[in-house]
Symmetry: C2
Subunit: 198 residues, 2 copies
């Protein structure tokens, strides 16, 4: 008998990878669970054993996409460094991560914009995750006296909203403009000054 290469186990992660590929190829309106199953060489029943509905699969792939950004930033938030520098780096890293997502693969980005619109809870969770990281930095800074912030969670919310222009996907088309970096740097300066003012 000829040797066959072993079929890798059908994990949730493999299904999500294939789903992203299918979404990229067919677009969010046309992609189906059958397409995903075909791409994996399995029956659509096998996919449904991991994700009970098409909606659940779409939500999971959206969450995975959003989580990639949070995971990149998590290390900056948790680092044992001056909170002022950490905050600046974190805000830059957020802008940069979103900008690269939008610029490197505009089609996939557009696809995810559609999915994000469908998946309120995944987005709320993502924003909570990011503002939680911000709050951690602000809390550390309040502890060392770098920031004059009495409510780090509230301040995190304000900073997140104030920088929306540089991470809210609705502004994606402005992110490549030549003035975007200088605008962002000036905004980060002003916020840092406000957070540190006596």
């Amino acid at each position: 008998m000829a040797a066959t290469s072993p079929t890798p186990a059908l994990t949730a992660e493999r299904i999500l990878e294939a789903t992203e590929e299918v979404l990229r190829r067919h677009g969010p309106a046309k992609a189906t669970v059958v397409d995903v199953a075909r791409a994996l060489g399995v029956s659509h029943g096998s996919v449904y054993r991991h994700f009970r509905t098409k909606a659940a699969l779409r939500e999971a792939v959206t969450k995975r996409w959003l989580d990639r950004t949070s995971e990149q930033l998590c290390g900056i938030a948790a680092a044992d460094r001056d909170p002022g520098a950490r905050l600046r780096d974190w805000l830059w890293a957020l802008f940069d991560a979103k900008r690269r997502k939008a610029g490197d693969d505009p089609e996939l980005f557009a696809t995810y914009m559609v999915l994000v619109d469908e998946n309120g809870p995944a987005v709320t969770e993502h924003i909570d995750d990011l503002t939680g990281q911000l709050a951690r930095i602000l809390r550390d800074g309040a502890g060392t006296g770098v920031f004059t912030v009495s409510d780090p969670a509230a301040a995190a919310r304000v900073v997140f909203q104030a920088t929306g222009r540089f991470h809210d996907p609705g502004y994606a088309r402005d992110w490549m403009r030549p003035e975007a970096e200088a605008d962002f740097a000036a905004l980060a300066d002003l916020l840092l000054r406000g957070l540190s003012s006596p």
Copy 2:
């Protein structure tokens, strides 16, 4: 002969008023110059004598709508008062004007969103107008030492972008949320602190 009431002269302003009414009634996709002329009881040629194309008419009505907000704020920017209080009032007035436009007449607001998308130059001019007013307040404050701002025009741009969530129409659906006012107040506080920090 029976007395007839005199027909008012056909001014640009009357045409623009009628155009807004027609847009409200028919929506931006269907409204035509003929509809406007009919509403005024004149020939469409008379309308074209004031606005040479349909595009020019749509641009003028958009500009008029945007200008209404700038005019409301202009008095605050120019007032002879403490620049800190003036800045706070001006930012609130901007949020409030936009929020009322969106909330009081959502259909007309949606119509103008379509027109605004078509009319890049009118929007750029509007934003220049508003940031010019902001720069005036910041310049006055830099003069009296209230603000530690070396470039009022650049700082105005930053403040305008930082508050985008409370005046950019893309966020209109968030403006009526119960937390919006507190969020806005906290953001204004942080910005004022940053602008005044030594």
